[in-house]
Symmetry: C2
């Protein structure tokens, strides 16, 4: 009943497999969450140390931090996992898989850091919206302060009203930019993380579970006594192995597909948010430059004139002799009799 073919497609023992396992094991358990420390330990650290030679990263990176040379040397032009190799599950395929897994791990770490940086930009933009809103309100509030001495305040009130309008318009631009950054910069990279990276991570787990299950059923099969009378038991175990094989095969196909898809999505995912960012900024500056036009310049220079006029020393002690009087010896003769 045991087919030689069966043994061929299950080379679970031997050097090749063990090596594949070890390489894969380095990435075992990675998840799409930020783990900066590990990322640096693997690649970022060497990179920051050699940042001046960043134009030649593979030459500059310490050999210890690079993927096994053998894998790199034997698979120089690989850009996808071949699905037809999923069933055979050879040591070579497992080794190649570990390279894809390492790439996905690096990508996850990098994506998390990039997302963090983009969310910070978005957060600052959002805070600017709130800050300009508050400033505009505060400028309008001057009128409502009920100053005990309100004489001559009309000019200030109307000027602050105008400034409040300017800040309001600026707030509209900032709000629009914030929305644009959220929709075209932050959202795409979040989607990439939540969809593509999480999918790969989930499928990795499922593949691991299916592989373990298959290993268990294979162990059971290999422990079967060779006696004839156990034919019924043997048939059951073979059925179990077949079911586990199907499950593992299906999960490996899905996992390979996701890893291949990730390689295609990766480049788009990195550039798409920045296109959104740049378009948002272009729009923002275009509208802003239109808004702060020459009419504003003339308004500002008239306000500046007003301020300059007010800055001249308008007020002096109206009765200089009073100040002398303070130093007079007796309080009974110090009263001012200015006309």
């Amino acid at each position: 009943m045991r087919s030689p073919h069966f043994l061929l497609i299950q080379p679970r023992r031997g050097l090749g497999w063990e090596e594949g396992r070890r390489v894969g094991g380095r990435l075992r358990g990675w998840r799409p969450v930020a783990r900066r420390g590990r990322a640096r330990g693997r690649g970022g650290h060497g990179a920051s140390a050699s940042s001046l030679q960043s134009r030649a990263p593979s030459a500059a990176a310490p050999p210890a931090l690079r993927p096994p040379v053998r894998l790199r040397a034997t698979m120089p032009a690989v850009d996808k996992l071949l699905l037809e190799e999923a069933l055979q599950d050879s040591p070579q395929t497992r080794s190649l898989l570990s390279v894809f897994e390492e790439d996905a791990g690096t990508l996850t770490d990098y994506t998390n850091q990039l997302l963090q940086a983009m969310q910070r930009v978005y957060g600052a933009q959002n805070e600017m919206c709130l800050a300009t809103q508050q400033l505009s309100k505060q400028l309008l509030a001057y009128e409502k302060q009920n100053f005990a001495l309100g004489k001559g305040d009309e000019e200030v009130i109307s000027t602050l009203h105008y400034f409040s309008k300017v800040v309001d318009e600026l707030n509209v631009l900032h709000t629009e930019l914030a929305k644009q950054l959220a929709d075209t910069m932050v959202l795409p990279i979040i989607q990439f993380r939540e969809k593509d990276l999480t999918e790969v991570s989930t499928l990795k787990d499922l593949f691991g579970l299916a592989s373990n299950e298959h290993d268990l059923s294979m162990a059971k099969y290999s422990r079967l006594p060779k006696k004839k009378e156990n034919e019924k038991v043997k048939t059951d175990v073979v059925k179990e192995v077949a079911a586990a094989r199907r499950k593992q095969h299906l999960s490996s196909l899905q996992y390979y597909c996701a890893l291949n898809a990730l390689q295609y999505r990766k480049r788009v995912a990195m550039m798409e948010p920045m296109i959104g960012f740049a378009h948002g900024q272009i729009n923002f500056f275009k509208k802003g430059a239109e808004m702060f036009s020459q009419s504003m310049d003339s308004f500002l220079s008239s306000v500046a004139d007003m301020v300059q006029r007010r800055r001249r020393p308008l007020f002096r002690p109206s009765c200089p002799r009073l100040v002398d009087a303070v130093a007079a010896p007796s309080p009974f003769t110090s009263r001012c009799r200015c006309p």
Copy 2:
């Protein structure tokens, strides 16, 4: 020895003085620090309730929150405290002083709120500098990630380099704006608070101390026995009264001067930071619009093209029969034999 003149210029008893004291008492102890609750209680609360009628604030404000009608009615065109009235220190002068003090208190509260709003804008601008700096660094970091599968990354790396340069240039503009906001918006209003408002507050305290000292020496003088043999003691007390009078007079002159100066500075202080703000924004948008010119547009559309090209479904299962094979009944016959 007691001159009628002396009694004339010290009307410390009677309705007029008491009333002036009461009005002044409402503002007793104000300091140039934020006390939003009190500010709202006095004027802001009524104002926010009637924000729709903001164009007619004096009509809309509840009468209870406005300064005493008598003061307003009798001093409609007052815009400064007369220094020659400082020595006489009449109830009318004290009442007028309380109006100036109330105005200074309102101004202090308002200035603190305005400063808070402006500092928030500055803070947001500063955070934008830091955020763009981080984003630029993160874009450059892609190259240094040591991806296990780096094939075809050159295009992504050079594009992200370009974007990093764009973000750097944007960062320069943001940094310039932040500096301008600090120098021409936040600094002038901080100086107004620290110099003008704090000066008034300090002089108010000194004036209060001098007044108390004078009150004490006057009380001593009034308790003097009328016997001839105490002429020596009387002379000493009169000297003490004279010294206290001089001190109070000097501090009142300084206090009046500071309050008058505040009225002039007030309007400039409110408008100056907004001129700085507007000039900063004009400069920012002008340079930004120049930076994000048409050359950027063509770059962006070429990147967008690249992204679109990559978005087409490049990858399909290379061996469809493999997927069927997963559902095959036996693992021993499921191996693919695709050519």
